[in-house]
Symmetry: D2
Subunit: 142 residues, 4 copies
């Protein structure tokens, strides 16, 4: 495993909520991040689909991580929007994020969230947002 | 407790992920919904603040619930955007959502998320999105 | 007319596109901006309603201006989202923007766009976005 | 010129605001739309860059048109968000939109806006939104 991915996995492991949800960093290189979340019963809503909040978490965090690949480790998601496309049912969520544009202080990124069902991936949400670099003195939420 | 709030609490209790996160419905009337989430260690990120994913969950779910007060119980969040304003640290998150406009099939809603810290509320995120009514045959994610 | 409003009117008059569209600054104070656009035939789409692009312009520019009331004159809209609520028909558009939160370098703002029809105002769009302060050396789009 | 592009050009020509701004439909096929806007002095802001409102118009209208390629001609943009990436200066704006997902009643689409400067294209804004099919009886804004 390369050093950057190792670094990213440590960062993810240091977030109690990411551990709680069961997220894994499965891809991490400059301009690219992939989070995978095995779908467990506690991540669902009342109809048996993955809760939208989990999909949002996945998009938000993948956006933060991909921003970190170009801005450094001290980054936060400033804002994002997400469109849910279809109910998510299957064995895992995969959130894939890319950097569209970056300056010294912020990056605009997109993230597509897929659900894996019987070995097939289906796009279930798309998002777009801004990741900001923060100074050491004002480190904020992931 | 009034009937509508009781109904809402049952709906929330039927969402495994909402139970997992520890969300409580503390306000629910036509055009108004309030979710409260006690801040526990597992909801944080690496710097001790509430993870952005939890704040997104709170906004998303409060938006869904407030949409449900005007559209009926079979609703989903179609899309939303959120701006994080400041790191959230304290004892509880409170997400307050209102309906801005609704038609027969969808509602545009806003949600403000506050953090309660030493008895004081501070606004930590603002969001806006669309809630859609779904037919029984295509019930989808919350 | 107060000095700040006078200053804002000059800024708006210096934007060729705002003059082209016929926008007027009708309110401008710390944390508050109002743009009014008389509805003329060239601002419409094929069904006789105000074109969405005009409503977006109004929201975007009111957001920029209100951000400027707290951040200074060198500001740009970094990003925003808008929900259209109903077709706009009438005599004028009014975009009213407020500052929700501001730091030294950026402000999160909301803007509601109304259409005036037979003396009555109806909400036709709602928006939310981020306004950023720019350094003199990198002044950018309004 | 193929029939679909011809149809799209007629639709654009029927929008007074699009004619006013000088937009041209330069690409139109199932799931794909491209709008080109020659940059003229009246489309600028006070620093000589294309006004953000023009870029928003371009994104919004390209999103509407691309939605129309899969949903039929009676469509409106319900909502969208846009991130501005850099000041736009050059000879023309090009807005390129694609359909990410569509159901019978709506489509989620993305649009990238480029500026052409000395023969080179640079990405200056990215957007994402929802296009909705409207019934004949409630045709609304483009």
């Amino acid at each position: 495993m390369d050093d950057l991915l190792q670094l990213g996995k440590q960062a993810l492991a240091s977030q109690p909520f990411s551990v709680f949800v069961g997220a894994e960093l499965t891809g991490f290189s400059p301009g690219w991040a992939e989070l995978t979340i095995p779908i467990t019963p506690q991540l669902k809503q009342q109809h048996g689909f993955v809760h939208g909040g989990v999909i949002s978490y996945a998009a938000d965090n993948a956006l933060t991580f991909v921003g970190g690949t170009v801005l450094g480790t001290a980054v936060v998601t400033s804002e994002y929007k997400i469109n849910y496309l279809r109910p998510a049912t299957g064995t895992a969520l995969i959130a894939r994020a890319t950097v569209i544009y970056s300056s010294k202080t912020q990056a605009v990124c997109r993230c597509d969230v897929f659900v894996v069902d019987e070995g097939e991936e289906r796009l279930c949400a798309v998002s777009q947002g801004t990741i900001a670099r923060i100074s050491q003195s004002s480190e904020a939420q992931a």
